[in-house]
């Protein structure tokens, strides 16, 4: 079975299919859902970092106008422990006992008739704490260390790499490099505040919830409330971003469902912006050491990369894979990487776009830049001298790799040849101008996925799967893939996602959904064709009678014989003749049961022009160029937006963003948008994105995944440009004016 449409839709920059609904306000986000008897919950959070609750006086809150219930660990019904997911263990549940392990931990939920009443009453709950000494610094020797336990997002492989003899190679290297890097904790901050609306009907629970993985939330809620999964439905048709926040069933989701059961009415809970900093994860702080050994002609003989990332106390989260990609980035015989986590009394960090790799790339690509100056070799040339055609950890060839073209195309569009190598040599008035670049090797994920595809007698097709659209374009690309594979017009295809009752789908995370869902759609359409051919198997009036799926192609709204395209008929003809209102087929793909024959990677090169005021030290990013090899691009417009969005996030973590934990109290000192700076439009320069490479031969539709790669490499490219402009090597993110004065 192949597809021979007249007009290809995969790859085309078609507009978002959900665009009109979003701009007209008819796209309903989780917090938009309401019910006639809806009540509102507001969280009370701990004001100490560690200790115990001696007592809670909720009397004033309970007596406040409109209040229906005040839930605390003292009166909340016991729940079953939440399950381990495909990604990691559950976050600690705060109402299990009287322990406090971080400031901002939920200690009570106030439910009232209105949001304002619940907010007012939440300030009346009095908690008597017994405070203990908190561990709040990543380098605190009292911080327990969690070694590499979970492998990270499935498909990314185990963490630590050890090949060759790094110590010996470093000892004998002509040039040795050894530096320490730090990256600040930063907070995902999707625009949409996370919200949960929970409603019980007898023992059936329906939840509208901001998350990136409805089936995981369903399983979690079913487990903790001891229900069958079929009695829980999780809906997230639209989501206001997530960047990894939505890959866990966070405690507020469970508490909302619990509150709804206790008060016997639907409950809505919307996190406040400050609560978004403490309740749904953040990118952890990292402390990294990079050692490189190189020959005078720029060949790497040793790479050692170690990282410690922060994690919350009692958290069963995954390892933060900071050094994971280092072993695969360059050709080098002696490599050792190691990741571990330091347990602190902070809110649980968790996945944030390109987790780990983003921080690790900053250190590795900055280190290579430093070596390029030591050796007097152009930064691109240094990377080319260490280019690896094979996947170094496995020794196999990559399924596809066009990183060379990334360097070439990126350098050309950026005008890299205009760079004069000496530091501070490119001045424009008060501005010191610097050019910097970074290479990116990234391991996108994939995961088991299911879907159904239906064809109806009204001429439309429906694709259904429990996937989500973070806002990045799942609706649109799924429509494109389904339309092209079926040979139907784009506007005849409808996509239903964001509902846990639909066929099981993985997370919108790990750059995995587009490829995973496309694989399931492919299989469903293959099965659909089989089902249609079964229908006409004995149909004497069908030109397709007796044909097998191997003998046909799809196009022009129907099925044709592959080597005789004039012979065939439309889907509608088949349905009409047989009186079928619709025909549906199920499809699935499990990449873990049948792992790809060759290792996968997405690749990119980032280029940045930075300007630093010579007197004031003020840094500004002037422009950026990225060349990306993500295999086949499903929608050029959406893919470009993904890359630009990643770059904006990268500019944020490089120039502005830091979640500041008070080292004395554990309180986040800047948990508002007035104090935590994300880039404004004026901080975002021209960002030029070019796609290079070819469709991947190993994966469905040739996709490699580009949800995360846009953020990786931005920090190093900017930091390297800052060095070129000023001679200041900044090994600590964010880069601030005080480092450049």
């Amino acid at each position: 079975m192949t597809t021979a449409t007249r007009e290809k839709v995969i790859g085309e920059p078609v507009d978002r299919v959900d665009g009109p609904a979003k701009v007209t306000g008819t796209a309903h986000y989780p917090s938009d859902f309401t019910f006639p008897d809806l009540t509102h919950a507001v969280l009370v959070q701990s004001t100490i970092a560690v200790g115990t609750i001696r007592g809670i006086d909720a009397a004033r809150a309970e007596a406040a106008p409109g209040v229906l219930a005040v839930l605390t660990h003292e009166n909340a019904p016991a729940l079953v422990e939440a399950p381990v997911t495909l990604v990691d263990g559950p976050p600690p549940f705060p109402f299990k006992d009287n322990r406090i392990v971080h400031r901002g931990q939920h200690v009570a939920v106030v439910v009232a008739r209105t949001h304002e009443q619940a907010t007012a009453a939440s300030r009346l709950v009095e908690i008597d704490y017994e405070e203990a000494a908190a561990v709040l610094r990543i380098d605190d020797p009292r911080a327990p260390v969690m070694p590499d336990r979970f492998a990270g997002l499935s498909g990314r492989g185990p963490g630590d790499v050890a090949r060759g003899d790094v110590a010996a190679a470093l000892a004998s290297a002509e040039v040795v490099y050894d530096e320490t890097f730090t990256t600040a904790p930063v907070t995902n901050n999707p625009m949409g505040l996370f919200a949960t609306v929970a409603r019980w009907e007898d023992d059936q629970l329906t939840v509208h919830d901001a998350n990136q993985w409805p089936t995981m939330v369903r399983k979690t809620l079913a487990t903790v409330f001891d229900l069958s999964e079929t009695d829980v439905r999780v809906l997230v048709p639209y989501l206001g971003g997530g960047f990894g926040n939505g890959l866990r069933a966070w405690p507020h989701v469970i508490l909302t469902a619990l509150a709804a059961r206790v008060v016997g009415r639907p409950v809505k809970l919307v996190l406040t912006r400050p609560q978004m900093f403490t309740s749904v994860g953040h990118r952890p702080e990292s402390l990294q050491r990079v050692r490189l050994g190189a020959s005078r002609d720029g060949r790497l003989v040793a790479v050692a990369h170690e990282s410690t990332s922060t994690i919350g106390s009692l958290d069963n989260g995954q390892i933060e894979p900071v050094t994971q990609v280092t072993g695969n980035a360059y050709s080098c015989p002696n490599v050792a990487t190691h990741d571990e986590r330091a347990r602190l009394n902070i809110p649980c960090p968790h996945s944030m776009r390109g987790p780990g790799t983003t921080q690790g790339n900053f250190a590795l690509e900055s280190a290579l830049d430093e070596v390029s100056y030591t050796l007097g070799i152009d930064p691109i040339e240094l990377r080319l001298r260490n280019y690896t055609e094979v996947h170094p950890v496995s020794g196999q060839s990559w399924s596809s790799k066009s990183l060379r073209q990334c360097y070439r195309a990126g350098a050309e569009r950026f005008g890299w040849e205009r760079r004069t190598p000496e530091i501070g040599s490119m001045r424009d008035g008060n501005w010191l101008v610097g050019y910097g670049m970074a290479g990116v090797t990234f391991t996108p994920g994939e995961a088991p996925c299911q879907a159904t595809v239906s064809i109806s007698r009204d001429g439309t097709a429906h694709m259904r799967s429990a996937a989500t659209d973070l806002g990045t374009g799942t609706y649109t690309i799924a429509t494109q893939v389904t339309a092209e594979l079926l040979g139907l017009d784009f506007d005849k295809v409808h996509v239903e996602i964001g509902d846990s009752d639909l066929p099981s789908a993985p997370y919108s995370g790990g750059s995995a959904l587009a490829v995973s869902l496309s694989g399931a759609i492919e299989d469903a359409i293959r099965n659909l064709v089989g089902a249609l051919l079964d229908v006409v198997a004995d149909d004497e009036s069908s030109p397709l009678r007796g044909r097998s799926p191997d003998e046909v192609t799809l196009g022009n709204g129907g099925i044709q014989v592959a080597d005789a395209p004039a012979i065939g008929e439309t889907y509608l003809d088949i349905l009409n003749r047989h009186g079928l209102p619709e025909i549906t087929a199920f499809g699935e793909r499990d990449p873990w049961a049948n792992p790809a024959s060759r290792p996968l990677g997405s690749f990119a090169a980032w280029f940045a022009e930075v300007r630093v005021d010579a007197d004031l030290g003020l840094p500004r990013v002037a422009r950026m160029v990225s060349a990306v090899d993500a295999g086949r691009v499903l929608n050029e417009k959406l893919a470009r937006s993904q890359m630009i969005g990643g770059a904006v996030m990268g500019i944020g973590m490089t120039m502005l963003e830091e979640t500041v934990f008070d080292p004395n109290t554990g309180r986040i000192a800047n948990a508002t948008f007035g104090d935590y700076l994300i880039p404004a439009n004026a901080d975002v320069p021209d960002i030029d994105v070019v796609f290079v490479g070819t469709p991947d031969e190993v994966r469905p539709i040739g996709i490699k995944g580009l949800g995360e790669i846009g953020v990786v490499g931005v920090s190093a490219a900017i930091a390297n440009a800052v060095y070129h402009a000023t001679g200041r090597r900044i090994r600590s993110l964010p880069i601030t004016i005080e480092q450049l004065l």
Partner: protein, 330 residues
């Protein structure tokens, strides 16, 4: 948030009488500070808000080299005024460097003078130690992470910053504040309007409870005097200053005849740099003079670890704005 009464009045005497008679009452104008602190942060808990937006306190008039600006004029209205552009252009620059277009459409000039500090320790009621919010409770900002804080007029009692851009230019111009009380009205120079925190950071200005700012008088600069406002900030827009400076210079034969200089991002109040002005007066317009003035302006700072960089940054900011206003680069 606790329940409060909302009153809108069209009569100024009634408004002043209402607030003066009720210690729990506060004025509500543009709301850009008040609504944050009352509704979102729960830091202020007024029993009654008197909406003054219908009072006849709008309009900008110019006479005898003085601009009279009603307290309810918005930031954007003042920025659009042609006399401001012509005669005090750095007021316009300071206005447009502040907040966002949406906020500037709401925020009033009177409110800008009275804006509360952005200090996140003040704005978080779960922080127990804040002398400004709870007199005598201490200052958590001095011991915790602090970067967007004051280094001039600060002490271990309080390092909260007055974050206005506009007021930096206004204080450089010797702007006068007109105030209406129950029984009388009075005028106070802006340089004497603010009160240094000392050991009572809760007292921020000379207003008695119930007194209402009705108008400000901005003396225009002499023709030929060049002015500029420079704001240095991490984010390129919609962000408070790390440091800022408003300067006006009149130069004749390479000598500074008149100088005005004020600083933002560093003071517990909008900071007039009188010592620096003394150095500038009569001195040659050179970079050396500017640097000497900058050093005088930053004498006796009070810094914590996170704000120490502001001394050097503020000095460089002053030198840069004096260079720009004078046209002298070396």
């Amino acid at each position: 948030m606790r329940p409060f009464e909302y009153v809108r009045t069209h009569d100024m005497a009634a408004a002043v009488a209402l607030v003066s008679a009720d210690p729990q009452a506060e004025y509500l104008a543009g709301g850009t500070t008040e609504l944050d602190l009352v509704l979102k942060d729960g830091v202020l808990e007024p029993g009654r808000l008197i909406d003054i937006t219908r009072l006849p306190l709008r309009g900008i008039t110019c006479a005898e080299d003085t601009l009279r600006v009603g307290a309810l004029v918005t930031m954007n209205e003042l920025a659009a005024d042609p006399t401001v552009s012509e005669r005090v252009p750095f007021v316009r620059e300071a206005l447009l460097a502040g907040a966002s277009p949406q906020l500037r459409n709401m925020a009033t000039i009177g409110g800008n003078l009275l804006q509360r500090t952005r200090c996140r320790y003040f704005r978080d009621a779960t922080v127990p130690a804040c002398n400004k919010r709870a007199p005598g409770s201490g200052c958590a900002a001095v011991r915790g992470p602090a970067r967007m804080h004051a280094i001039l007029g600060a002490s271990e009692h309080c390092i909260a910053l007055h974050a206005s851009d506009l007021c930096v230019a206004l204080v450089a111009l010797d702007t006068v504040v007109e105030i209406q009380g129950v029984d009388a009205s009075r005028s106070v120079p802006l340089t004497q309007f603010y009160v240094l925190p000392g050991d009572r950071p809760d007292i921020e200005n000379v207003l008695q409870h119930g007194e209402l700012i009705t108008r400000i008088r901005i003396p225009l600069l002499p023709v030929g005097m060049r002015s500029g406002y420079l704001k240095v900030r991490d984010r390129a827009s919609y962000e408070f200053a790390l440091t800022s400076a408003a300067a006006a210079l009149l130069i004749e034969d390479d000598t500074i005849v008149r100088a005005r200089l004020a600083l933002g991002g560093v003071g517990t109040v909008p900071w007039r740099a009188l010592e620096a002005e003394e150095i500038l007066h009569g001195a040659p317009a050179t970079r050396r003079t500017f640097r000497a003035a900058a050093e005088a302006a930053l004498r006796d700072p009070f810094t914590v670890a996170g704000t120490a960089f502001k001394i050097e940054l503020a000095q460089r900011t002053i030198v840069r704005i004096l260079q720009e206003a004078s046209g002298v680069q070396s």
